[in-house]
């Protein structure tokens, strides 16, 4: 551990301010990237939750300070019953619930909001480390979170567009057409893992659709090629690649 930081490891109001500011700065940086990507959780959310979880740890430290000074008599009499990690553990659970509220079940068996929820979770955890005066991992993990959430986002999309396993949502005119579609897919030497018919009969102006989960052939795994050849079929109304 870095010895220069040891001066601020003791519990005092000055070190509490430093810890809160550290959590504030880290969450602002993380939130800035999320805001600029127009994600649901922006800077304010990150900062608010970060300040709160840092405070929760500081309250625990304060309580222990009190147990050692003002309430030392009671501690001698009844015994030490407090658990310093209790508040922090409940922060983890509480943010878990909040994150669960953020995850949306979107159309076609997809979910969204998962990265936002986990990003908040990671930010809360590093803010608690800041609150405990454990400064070393805070800045390092904040940098990693920024890297993962922002820099790696285009990387993940590029990666997902080059993988062999793809999920397609196909709209067609008649359910019997599924056979022709799967024949076309097999002609491209792709393997079909699963076909899930979402709407079989026509409901209003909606056409029947199905989710195809496939693995493209090793030699030719162009996503747009597969989409085009399915779209060319006269029985297909629309085809869409689903990327979560």
């Amino acid at each position: 551990m870095i010895p220069a930081l040891d001066a601020y490891r003791d519990f005092s109001f000055l070190s509490a301010i430093i810890r809160l500011l550290l959590a504030l700065i880290c969450s602002t940086v993380i939130g800035y990237g999320r805001s600029s990507m127009q994600r649901t959780a922006g800077m304010r959310t990150y900062v608010l939750i970060s300040v709160g979880s840092c405070m929760a740890v500081l309250i625990t430290l304060f309580q222990f300070e009190m147990l050692q000074t003002a309430w030392a008599g009671t501690v001698d009499e009844v015994g030490q019953k407090s658990d310093a990690s209790r508040m922090a553990s409940q922060v983890v659970a509480g943010i878990g619930f909040l994150g669960a509220g953020l995850i949306i079940k979107a159309a076609h068996q997809q979910v969204s909001g998962l990265t936002t929820a986990t990003g908040l979770f990671a930010t809360v955890c590093l803010s608690m480390a800041a609150g405990a005066g454990f400064y070393e991992p805070v800045i390092l993990s904040a940098l990693i979170v920024v890297l993962v959430l922002n820099v790696m986002s285009p990387l993940e999309i590029t990666f997902k567009r080059s993988v062999r396993n793809i999920v397609l949502n196909v709209e067609f005119y008649d359910v019997k057409d599924i056979q022709r579609i799967s024949d076309t897919i097999r002609e491209q030497h792709a393997a079909i893992y699963d076909i899930d018919v979402e709407r079989s009969a026509q409901e209003g102006d909606k056409y029947p659709n199905a989710i195809f989960i496939l693995q493209l052939s090793k030699l030719n795994h162009s996503h747009s090629g597969m989409l085009s050849s399915i779209a060319e079929l006269s029985c297909v109304r629309s085809v869409q690649e689903l990327i979560s």
Binding site: A16, I17, T28, G31, S35, S36, M37, Q38, T40, M43, R44, V47, L48, V51, G52, S53, M55, A56, I59, F62, Q63, T69, A70, T74, K81, S82, R86, M87, S89, Q90, V91, A93, G94, G96, F97, L98, G101, L102, I104, A106, S112, G113, P154, I157, T158, S222, S224, G225, L227, S228, S229, I230, A231, V236, R237, S238, V239, Q240, E241, I243
Partner: protein
């Protein structure tokens, strides 16, 4: 030791009043923006958390029971997580509303815990930080949001035309996040329509003007989604 940190009647009154004041300050800011949780909600949360923290302390310090003084406070944090999750709304366009309010409510609860535990400085400092985050960062957020995602609609006849368009988008450093191809039955000019969801820094206008003149492409359009 400061007598206000002890559990006396005077200290109790001060803790309750201070938690109400902090809840009011945060709540007024939310109310002034006409957000779902107003100052009554925030006062309830802040005061309730403070009472929970005081009770937790009282079990040990006042009654001298073998209790963990942080257990009740800890469960408040989880409980407020539940309330926050319930206050988040998913709109019809599958976006999220109420997240900042939920986060603010959660942190206000922790401010209440700090004051109830007798850590007044932290409670006041926390309130100041919450208010700063809500006001200053709110304005800042609006100014940094750009428009990184947009959708191009392209009408074309030839299958290779789409490949060309996609290659051009990649060469312009645009990430293709989603692709939808629609076969057109009643359009005499084009056989297919493709919706390409793009993310990147290139301007939509520049892309459209270049794509429009590509062979096989009937028309290209930047559409709002």
């Amino acid at each position: 030791m400061n007598p206000l940190r002890e559990l006396t009647f005077l200290s109790l009154v001060i803790r309750l009043l201070l938690s109400c004041a902090c809840g009011t300050l945060v709540g007024l800011e939310r109310s002034s923006k006409n957000r779902p949780a107003g100052f009554r909600t925030h006062i309830s949360v802040c005061l309730g958390s403070a009472v929970a923290a005081i009770t937790g302390t009282y079990l040990f310090v006042g009654l001298k029971l073998p209790a963990d003084i942080s257990r009740i406070s800890g469960q408040v944090i989880t409980g407020l997580g539940f309330i926050g999750a319930g206050s988040i709304i998913i709109t019809k366009k599958l976006t999220i509303k109420g997240l900042t309010t939920a986060a603010g409510l959660w942190t206000t609860g922790i401010v209440g815990l700090a004051i109830g535990s007798g850590y007044f400085e932290l409670g006041v400092l926390g309130t100041a930080l919450v208010l700063a985050a809500e006001t200053v960062l709110g304005r800042l957020t609006a100014s940094i949001q750009r428009r990184p995602e947009f959708t191009l609609e392209i009408l074309y006849n030839d299958k290779t035309a789409l490949d060309e368009v996609l290659r051009f988008c990649k060469d312009s450093h645009m990430a293709i996040t989603r692709l939808q191809i629609l076969s057109l039955d009643d359009n005499p000019e084009a056989d297919y329509a493709a919706e390409i969801y793009l993310r990147g820094n290139a301007r939509p206008v520049t892309l459209v003007s270049r794509i429009q003149i590509m062979p096989g492409v009937v028309s290209a359009l930047d559409i709002e989604k």
